[in-house]
Amino acid sequence: MAYEKRFDGRAFEDTREIDAKAGVVKNADGSAWFKIGKTEAIAAVYGPREIYPRFKQNAKEGVLQCFYNMMPFSGMGDRVRPGGNRRSKEISMVITNALKPALDLSEYPNSAIDVFIELPKTDAGSRCASICAAAIALADAGIPMKDVVSAVAVGIVDGTVLVDLDYAEEAFEGEVADIPIAVIPSTGELTLLQMDGRISKDNLIKALELGKQVSLKISEVQKKALKEVYEVQNEN
């Protein structure tokens, strides 16, 4: 039996409800909040600033360092022990790689651009929400970029290609593939591609095409958040 109606009633090409806001952490050089369904991410950018330890510095361009962290009380189930683990380290690395291709850090040699991403509540899709928040925060911090990176999960549940799997769909006992992707919306290039599950090549390509379309919608929300902050300032 194919998956014909989603557990929460959404259409297959619909994401959960999305919202975003820029400039949420006053101390930071740039910051943003991004919400998709019950998952929320807050990102704060500090930099360009000095980089420690010094061996990490690059004389040609600034170094982007992203730090993904779930708050201890954010997850479904047991408390998440603070201090990071193998999962958060890997996610921090893939987030950095997802954002870096859209940025031009050549003006910041020997410096760090630090992006701290905190998740107060999570319910599937936290790495994609983190990328969306971080991209808005980097733009808010004035880091030169060719576009604001968007991210969303695509995949397949019981034969049906869809976007933005929620917790119940990820946990579905049957054929499931969860494929988080990040996209540079203006070019359609992918900067993050991971997969958990099994899928045919044809369905994968179908899912990626769907993801690219949906990322344009997410991109609108991200850009709107930035405009809301800067248009108000222009009026003053």
């Binding site: 101390n27 708050m71 201890p72 997850g75 479904m76 047991d78």
Partner: protein, 256 residues
């Protein structure tokens, strides 16, 4: 720079004004929002001016400590997130984060506001452990009072999860809250020259000579104390600071 700023701050204090124009005993606007993280058993966001902290409670069933077989456990942890202040670094908790967590822990524990016996399920075998985690979002001074207020707000907001055959079902909360007798509130007073200030802004924190963090209950009973800063305090000064702290605690308690 620091001495010049200190001279300036002291100078205007002598004229009766603070760095940001507040009265000596005036707090910035305080705001408490509950239920900010539905996966937690209880949660709260506290804002004091532009200072912002989140706190969440997770509860789990664990074995009691062998010396207190009938007592549940309380664990308070503070994360001074690098997101909230450019000088906070990622990595293991700093001494400031550890001190802050321990002072909040003492305020809650020693007040006796949580009856740890009521957290016992099966003596010697199963008790509830209440984890309180506080995370700073934006540090614009006085994280201490914001963090402790958020911690107690999250505990007030907490509801026990459902237990099915001895296993916790985190997807469903019961309507049973953590029984509280009293609400300890922490207020930090800083000393600058001959002046005592509540709710210090970062500029005042940086140059404060001494500080005293005090947790007190509704009836004025003190349940935790922590002196900080480089300079000593006389008993007369401590007396004044306690009075100010207890008065302000009542103000903060009314925000919960």
């Amino acid at each position: 720079m620091k001495t010049e700023q200190k001279e300036h701050i002291l100078d205007i204090l002598d004229k009766g004004s603070r760095f940001d124009g507040r009265k000596f005993d005036e707090m910035r606007p305080v705001e408490v929002t509950y239920d900010i993280s539905p996966n937690a058993e209880g949660s709260a966001l506290v804002k004091i001016g532009n200072t912002e902290v989140m706190a969440g409670v997770k509860m789990s069933i664990e074995q009691p400590y062998p010396d207190t077989p009938e007592n549940g456990n309380l664990s308070v942890n503070v994360e001074l997130l690098p997101l909230s202040n450019p000088s906070f670094e990622p990595g293991p908790p700093s001494i400031d984060a550890i001190e802050l967590a321990r002072v909040i822990d003492r305020g809650i524990r020693e007040s006796g506001c949580i009856d740890v016996k009521s957290l016992c399920i099966e003596p010697g075998k199963k008790v509830w452990t209440v984890f309180v985690d506080v995370c700073s979002i934006n540090d614009d001074g006085n994280l201490k009072d914001a963090a402790s207020l958020a911690a107690i707000a999250a505990i007030k907001n907490a509801r026990f999860p459902e237990v099915v055959d001895g296993e916790v079902n985190y997807k469903k909360k019961t309507d049973k809250s953590v029984p509280l007798n009293g609400v300890p509130i922490e207020v930090t007073i800083v000393k600058l020259g001959n002046h005592f200030l509540v709710d210090p802004c970062p500029e005042e924190e940086n140059v404060a000579e001494a500080r005293l963090t005090l947790a007190s209950l509704e009836d004025g009973t003190l349940c935790a104390l922590q002196k900080g800063g480089q300079q000593p305090l006389t008993t007369e000064q401590i007396d004044k600071m306690i009075e100010l702290s207890v008065t302000k605690a009542a103000e903060l308690r009314s925000k919960l």
